[in-house]
Subunit: 168 residues, 2 copies
């Protein structure tokens, strides 16, 4: 299988935002390196990882599919919205840089399906932005997941590990 | 200058907790590798980084000092408390592993003074635990910081980048 990578060409010009979809393994070190700046006192990272069990069933892997063009567009909008939402110049609060990588295809146990990194002036706006960003990505981005079990079964899920409901 | 490293020998036996103080550079990849487990769907990391400006003054670096034995003991208590506080077996919520490294001595701009990593079953208890853990470490652990400015001045601070008050 050949590896694939998709990025929004317009956003690729913005040194404060990196957003991509890939079938390759994600790399947290790359994300943290991208978001670090001398103006930021906090770097917050989130990795969403395939677990071995879901509701008592042994999971073999997760599979992610997306509408690539729409997903990148929605991700771009969400990240821009996040930067505006958590900036407060009176309190000197700011999200400096954001990195979002989402893996597509099969994601084995212990490997990451999503990595989000961001840098902020202080930790408060960083935590708030991280929580909002991840919830909003899972709600709005055109990416879907299949959960495959070791007994051979599988089920389609909303892309949300917290409040999962069956799609079909 | 020789590098130094301090760890609680009792906690060093616990494979779910790693806590240490060091004068060397911190390594996020080590922390993330330590906390990953097949049972965790989320890995959350925080790096506290030296910023180049504080209240309009150009910072040259931060310096951290501690009462090593007490600081390790307090860190150990806080991490144990965190694991109990954010476990909820009814909701299947759990903090699986926690890694806390705090740097001592001089920490230049863009380098990390603290790294906290944790793994949780879902993202909610992970975010809550991360926020609580960091706030509590900054409130209770016997570590103090000096801020040195490029004009040659310096000031002692509480070890809290969010709500700083002068100590002397």
């Amino acid at each position: 299988m050949c590896d694939n990578y998709w990025e929004d060409p317009q956003l690729a010009q913005d040194e404060s935002i990196k957003i991509f979809l890939t079938t390759k393994e994600l790399d947290l070190a790359e994300g943290v390196k991208f978001v670090k700046t001398p103006k930021a006192g906090a770097v917050i990272s989130f990795c969403g990882t395939t677990r071995d069990v879901f509701e008592g069933k042994q999971v073999s892997d997760l599979g992610y599919e997306s509408h690539h063009r729409l997903a990148l567009k929605t991700l771009g909008k969400i990240v821009q919205e996040c930067k505006t939402k958590f900036e407060n110049s009176v309190k000197d609060e700011k999200i400096h840089r954001v990195y979002v990588g989402h893996r597509l295809g099969k994601v084995p146990i212990m490997e990451d399906s999503i990595i989000v990194c961001l840098s902020s002036t202080h930790r408060q706006e960083g935590w708030n932005a991280g929580i909002w960003l991840l919830d909003t990505i899972k709600e709005r981005v055109e990416i879907w997941k299949t959960e495959r079990y070791i007994d051979g079964g599988f089920s389609w899920k909303e892309n949300d590990n917290a409040n999962v409901t069956d799609r079909v």
